[in-house]
């Protein structure tokens, strides 16, 4: 009797963990399908011309997405330059003054910002920057993306710094090192892996954002390096090409998707590597 009950329990245990394993394995299936489709449909579109030249005039076959690649890089660079200093500062503040009232409200604000739909951020950037300046600009797109990057950088910086033992900070202070030098020269370098990892992941997160750019960076058919002018970006290009009626543009959209996904995947993998490789042992 007793033995039977235990045997039944063992079977239930086995069953339970099997179910977990099966369900977990399903999670990689969508990714597998996405990659499969992108390779089948997109990889064929890719050649040197595709990567290195801008679009041909309408109706002419060929041409490439170089203007979108450059545009996306400019937007990412702008967003990073704007959001990294703010993100690091806020993250340090939240970790250092965990219990202050201001920290509570800032943390709440950052969390809410993370939850704001990206299209809304696009509209806000439009009303703040595009409308007063009366022009769609790469800069406004960069600011919109910076707003999306900010919460990720803040939280990863905060969590990383919280994990650094106080004894390291005390060691520095006991040597007569000022507070701000302690933060900049001891605490930040000790948390560098987590912080860089957070930045890379935030870049990966925004690289594919379309909505915040529709009303800001706007898109362009020309190679543009001027941040005060509209600029093309990969997701915008994909969106427009894919919704156009022309088959060759569809193929280009697939190719661009492939490039974008490879870029994001690489960033994710590099971020994982940075986390592991630069990890500091205390």
């Amino acid at each position: 009797m007793q033995n039977k009950k235990i045997a039944l329990r063992l079977i239930k245990d086995r069953l339970f963990s099997t179910v977990l394993i099966i369900i977990s394995s399903f999670s990689v299936v969508p990714l597998g399908f996405i990659l499969y489709f992108l390779v089948v449909k997109g990889a064929t579109a890719i050649n040197l011309e595709f990567l290195l030249s801008g679009p041909n005039p309408y109706g002419e076959p060929g041409g490439g997405i170089a203007h979108a690649i450059v545009g996306t890089l400019i937007l990412i660079l702008l967003a990073a330059v704007i959001s990294i200093p703010f993100g690091l500062s806020i993250g340090i503040f939240l970790a250092e003054f965990q219990k202050s009232k201001l920290a509570y409200w800032v943390r709440l604000g950052v969390d809410i910002l993370q939850g704001i739909p990206s299209i809304v951020i696009g509209i806000i950037a439009w009303s703040w920057i595009v409308r007063p300046m009366r022009a769609f600009t790469a800069l406004s797109g960069g600011i919109a993306l910076a707003l999306m990057m900010l919460p990720i950088i803040v939280r990863s910086t905060e969590e990383t710094i919280k994990l650094i033992p106080t004894s390291i900070k005390e060691a520095s202070l006991s040597l007569g090192v000022s507070y701000y030098h302690t933060i900049l020269k001891v605490i930040l370098p000790s948390g560098i892996s987590g912080i860089v990892c957070g930045i890379l992941l935030s870049v990966a997160r925004i690289a594919g954002e379309t909505a915040p750019l529709i009303f800001t960076a706007f898109g362009s058919r020309f190679m543009n390096l001027n941040i005060m002018k509209p600029v093309e970006s990969m997701p915008l290009l994909i969106y427009r090409y894919a919704s156009s009626p022309y088959r060759d543009l569809h193929t280009m959209a697939w190719g661009a998707s492939f490039v974008l996904v490879v870029f994001v995947l690489t960033l994710n993998i590099v971020a994982k590597g940075v986390c592991k490789r630069w990890c500091i042992k205390y």
Binding site: S167, A171, L173, L175, G176, V177, K185, Y282
Partner: protein
Amino acid sequence: MVHKVLMINDFSAYFGKDKVVKNITLAIEDSKITAVMGPSGCGKSTLLRSVNRMHELNPNTSVSGSIVLKGNDIYRMNPILLRRHIGMVFQRPNPFPTMSIYDNVIAGYKLNGIKLTRQERDSIVEESLKKAALWDEVKDSLRKKGTFLSGGQQQRLCIARALAMKPEIMLLDEPTSALDPKATAFIEELIVQLKKTVTIVLVTHNIAQAARVSDYTAFLFLGELIEFGVTEKIFTVPSDKRTEEYLTGKFG
């Protein structure tokens, strides 16, 4: 004439409204080892951390009375400058994880932006590591990370880092509590050697350690200074009953 390098006068320290150190008066003699012992929570660490004003890094702390270092009231000094004169070694070895052994020793100068020539740096590193009895073990691997060393070596590295600043007083906060017996014995021996160059205040909950290394012993209980005197006398003929009970293991 004995020279008192540090005078603690009617000193009290508070966490919020809790008085953790109660009206302590104590004089620390130059080039001697003074041990502060007592059961956990008796305020010995707080007293020690008041001497280099690390205590005030915790929120809601306050002090009364005075601590005078060579004629200067430390609570009128800039804490940052004060801490350059008073070295500290903590319970757990805490070398800077991002720095090499060499950079750890010189960290006090580097982080404070004090410019040194390469020769000065080299000689400070060598001298400090020699004083901390670590030179022979690490002289061929100065560029390796400090965290690769064993626990005992790391603690000696932290001692070298504090010594490099040429402090007048070294505060040791239970420096061997995270170490194995062999490393502990080594560090104790080192502490005795160090008193030639620097005054040492050693907080310990290890009675035997206080007896082995110190010249003077202070016994703290519930924030009060129960007894202070020459170590031999405290351990052989304590004048207070509570000291005797603590030493014989009746509490603590």
